[in-house]
Amino acid sequence: MAVQAVAVGALVPASIAVLIAAAYTHSTSPMLTAFMAGARAGGVAVFLGAAVRLLKPQIVAQPRVGMVFAMLTFLVAWTFPVSLFVVLLVSGGCGAMWLRSAA
């Protein structure tokens, strides 16, 4: 039952999204290209806004440590060509040590 629910919940929206993507990639309409250029900018806006939205509760819970943690991660990822998997794993370890008081 749970597997069916997950399958339907993932497959139906995925099929719709893939159909839209297929229509877009096979279209040569300049209007659709212009439409997607705007949508692309909107997508980046949503992405950046979602990062802030997701970060807010963590910063509220741990204002000082959380902010320092976020800024350090940002600087490291922006400056050095480090593996992001490593960054996430190290962050988990650091969080277990320094963010546990928020739990």
């Binding site: 993507a21 900018a41 997508g43 996430l88 963010l99």
Partner: protein
Amino acid sequence: MAPIRGMTSLALYWLFLRAVLLSFSGFATVPVLREALVLDHALLTDARLNDAIAISQASPGPLGMYVVLVGYFVAGVSGALAGVLALMTPALLAIPIARLVLRGQSAAIQGACGGIVIASCALMMVTGLRLVPQAAPALPYLVIIVIGAAMVALTSIKPVWVIVVAAGIGLAVY
């Protein structure tokens, strides 16, 4: 499985799964997938990644649905299936993981989750800023990004409206 320009669909599934398992939000996977598919393997462009995000936001389904579209853009239908399976796998593990995190009363586990969430947000911002030049070829698009990001961050507006309005502005600019 058949190789997909240097990456098998099984490898694609494994990449998606690792990214999804290490994230606590649908979009938190974007930095990891961009690093692997755009920067390391050159299987995807920033433009296509932006397309996947935009289309997924204008479609029904969870935030992470863009992974399916990334799979589709990289490898067609088999890539999309790899994305769907990668999205489904953690959902099936969600209840035991939630029990471990919430009922285990382990401050260390909750702290680790908090650390990963904060790091994910920082990585999302880095990736988002790196996507801006591709998504904003002219000033109106930059204005869309700034205002849209502020609205999503500061209000409870549904992301789909930002996409729809931005697409409308794109048409108007055309």
